[in-house]
């Protein structure tokens, strides 16, 4: 999304989705990020994916912490509530929000500082709880708002703008998530909308938490020679391992899934996640195989992208807790208060 105000006029030929909304209805306020920022491309992909899946704007909740990435929820879906909270705390706040209302769709937009340093604990535990949400890490290896410090995802040897190499081993959110039971793990590149949009669409249909690590170059502080999170480096080293597509439930295309499809995963809502291609011997539902494949390829310096792992058999937070279908936030008070007679009876125990 460019940093210029767009005219309000809408082209009459703009395509409408199932709700009769055009893609413009999923836009937000004007971005204040630097021109060329990878994050704006991700915002555009989110807008496209939400429009394509016909999300009702007010049934979406946009959650974020603090940082450049966390500003972006203001730049999409004006008709949705947003919560630009505190640094690193987005996963915890979203967990509580999701606990209170299981009918909303949650998207959390975070960054590598937000999620891999100050909020890494909250991210890990939200993954363990399998909170139903789409969790995007806009990963640029650098603290942008505070002007260029290394983040925890910076590779060893990657150089800062001033030429200093990073010495500390990076935290890879994909490997981390796989190791603690994440049920949907993907990696993409902000410059690859063709790949990112289908991944996002699948993520919104996933039964639990869908974690998407998106390499998103910082044009101002980390797009130079020597950086391993630059546009150039990423384009050179990114290898799209899987090619996945989402087939919504009751779609006619279902019948078209051919035997040649490497694998198809039925999502909880009946949609089908169709992998058109995966590497030989790769099974996106086998955690051990996926982990080992990623380790082998990453050792060779490749940035493996695509929808890497999915498991639809793990209950989400509400299922694990046997919570009522009626959102707790809308539970009538009469169902919550046991009343005076019960209190009288209970107090017989306090004698």
């Amino acid at each position: 999304m460019p940093s210029i105000a767009k005219p309000l006029a809408r082209h009459p030929a703009l395509k409408q989705n199932e709700l009769g909304l055009t893609i413009r209805d999923y836009e937000g306020s004007m971005s204040t990020l630097c021109a060329g920022c990878g994050h704006d491309s991700i915002t555009a992909a989110i807008v496209r994916a939400l429009w394509e899946i016909s999300m009702q704007p007010h049934m979406l909740a946009k959650m974020s912490g603090i940082g450049c990435s966390s500003k972006t929820p203001a730049y999409f879906v004006n008709g949705a509530h947003g919560f630009n909270s505190a640094h690193g705390r987005m996963p915890a706040i979203t967990t509580g929000a999701a606990a209170a209302n299981r009918e909303l769709t949650y998207i959390g937009v975070s960054g590598d500082g937000d999620s891999l340093s100050i909020g890494i604990g909250h991210m890990c535990h939200a993954i363990r709880r399998n909170v139903r949400m789409v969790y995007i890490i806009e990963n640029n290896g650098v603290y942008g708002l505070t002007k260029g410090q290394f983040s925890a995802s910076a590779d060893v040897g990657s150089k800062s703008k001033r030429g200093e190499p990073n010495q500390f081993a990076p935290i890879d959110p994909v490997m981390l998530a796989l190791s603690i039971g994440a049920t949907f793990v993907a990696r993409s590149f902000s410059g690859d909308k063709e790949q990112l949009v289908p991944i996002l669409k699948a993520a919104f249909r996933h039964r639990g938490m869908a974690l998407i690590d998106v390499i998103s170059p910082c044009v101002t502080f980390n797009d130079h020679t020597g950086s391993t999170k630059s546009y150039l480096y990423t384009r050179k080293h990114a290898v799209s391992a899987t090619d996945a597509d989402l087939v919504p439930p009751a779609s006619e295309i279902v019948a078209n899934i051919s035997a040649q499809d490497v694998t198809a995963v039925t999502l909880h809502d009946g949609s089908i996640l169709r992998f058109r291609s995966v590497p030989e011997g790769y099974d996106p539902t086998d955690r051990v195989k996926v982990t080992s494949y990623l380790q082998q390829r990453q050792q060779k310096g490749e940035i493996i992208t695509g929808l890497l792992f999915v498991n639809e058999h793990v209950p989400d937070m509400h299922e694990m807790n046997n919570t009522s279908d009626t959102p707790l936030a809308r539970m009538p008070y009469e169902k919550l208060c046991p009343g005076s007679a019960a209190l009288e009876q209970l107090q017989e125990e306090f004698r």
Binding site: K62, A100, S324, M331, K335, E344
Partner: protein
Amino acid sequence: MHEQLRPGVNDFAIKLANVNGTGSASANGLIMQAIFRMGIPVSGKNLFPSNIQGLPTWYEIRVNRSGYTARSLDYDLMVAMNAQTYRQDIREVRQGGYVLYDSSWPLDRNLYRDDVNFLPIPLAQMMNEKFADARQRILLKNIAYAGALVALLDIDLPIVEELLAETFAGKAALRESNRQALHMGRDYAREHFSCPLDFHLAKMNANDGKILIDGNTATALGCLYAGASFAAWYPITPATSVMDAFRGFCEKYRKDPETGRNNFLILQAEDELAAIGMVIGACWNGARAFTSTSGPGISLMNELIGLAYYSEIPAVIIDVQRVGPSTGMPTRTQQGDLLECAYASHGDTRHILLFPANPAECFDFAVQSFDLAERFQTPVMMLSDLDIGMNDWVVPRLKWDDSYRPDRGRVLSAEDLKDIPKFHRYSDEDQYYVPPRTLPGVDPKGAYVTRGSGHNKFGGYTETPSEYQEVVDRLAHKQKAAAELAPRPEIQNGAGSKYGVITIGSCDIAVREAVELLAGRDIPLDYLRIRGFPFHRSVEEFLYAHEVTFIVEQNRDAQLRSLLTLETCVPKERLRSVLAYGGFPLSARNVVEGIVNHLEAGHAVHR
């Protein structure tokens, strides 16, 4: 009824010294509960270590027919069951008092005192002869000394047996062995000592309409009845039992009868930062939610308390205070979080606080905390403490008014939104300076971005001084307005004295007793107990109405006095501190001595 009783009857204190992890708590609770069922005012204070097994632990029982059951420092009888602490325990008994000890092993001659009476009972030996199982011998030794106390203090035997029957319902063998141990202790005492002692018990009917309950259980009940449907917490002493009790009540009362599903969700968070974050997320989304914690948790929650304050999101925090700073003494009581909570978080913040004095108020104030949080769209903290939270108190039965409906504050529905041209989150405030809010998932017209960063009255991001100030100035007005609806102080102005006393929370019962004792010494005092913050204007009026006011609280730095000097215009020198902060519950003697010292030093009047 008690006028007919002789001195010493229903007016004494006993202390039981044990080793933790040996099962003494149930025996001590049994004695306390039996006295309660005899209709006599009683309290039990558990003074326990932060440890699972092997360290000294004490239990104090005070019986007082007039209802003054604050901690006593005068022990008429010591049940000395811990050889490690014999020296200290025997020293603490009043002149002419009694020491009951296990004479299976001889008592060191050096420990004897001429001015107390020793009651030797070979408890371990008796248990070893009777029972085969090693663990059972240890546990039943406690029941055996309880049996001895039945004889020595004239505790009603049928009541004790009834309690054992209730405890071991369905476990006949255990019940029988407990009954045998009880009788062995009782019989031994009756054969070897003159029973009952000169101080002992006689049935009363002071406990009609009363219950025996700890503050954490009552707090959990308040949260249940207030309609809290979500809770998040991180384990911490002494607040853990709040959530344990809440979960227990939810399992009992919140399972949907038709679907069997849970009309509640409780999450054990990864830390207190997450716990308060989850609560804020749930409240933002329209649920009633709370967390329970203690001082160290409040320290961690400071960041997000500020977020909720500034972005105006309700949240309820139960703070069961313990001894700080740092880890401090986790199993000891204090009122050390007053300043931390009043102004929690960076920047200009100020919070609504409620201070219950006993479990009955924990129940009422927990409910009120939710109403205030939603009415004022701000975090509300209820400050209990370990003494209230973890000890059993005799309080009036809890009452519930079925016509109660939660005050959800100003929340716009889809219909409300239809009637307004445009929704702005921080505009259109009411008489309490509270603007309406909208909930996600209701209507796109109500959508906005909640943010902890600078915002203007429309909810938009701002860095403009006047826009920023406009919002934070309204927040200041809102906090002031809350003083009208927060629990007002309890005032007893009858003494017409130039001296006043102000106290807070669990100090109440000891200070009331002290006021009566001082009245007997011709030192009349007017009384005020703070129950809410920001302070109601009657607090400042009380301070101005008295030449000198003594401020009684349980912390080193006179935090309540600091708050009073910050929040009122009363000259600081008119406020005199009486402090107790060693970690054990306050006793009237602490208060009397503190006030008398001030008066004798002359500071109270002349400086």
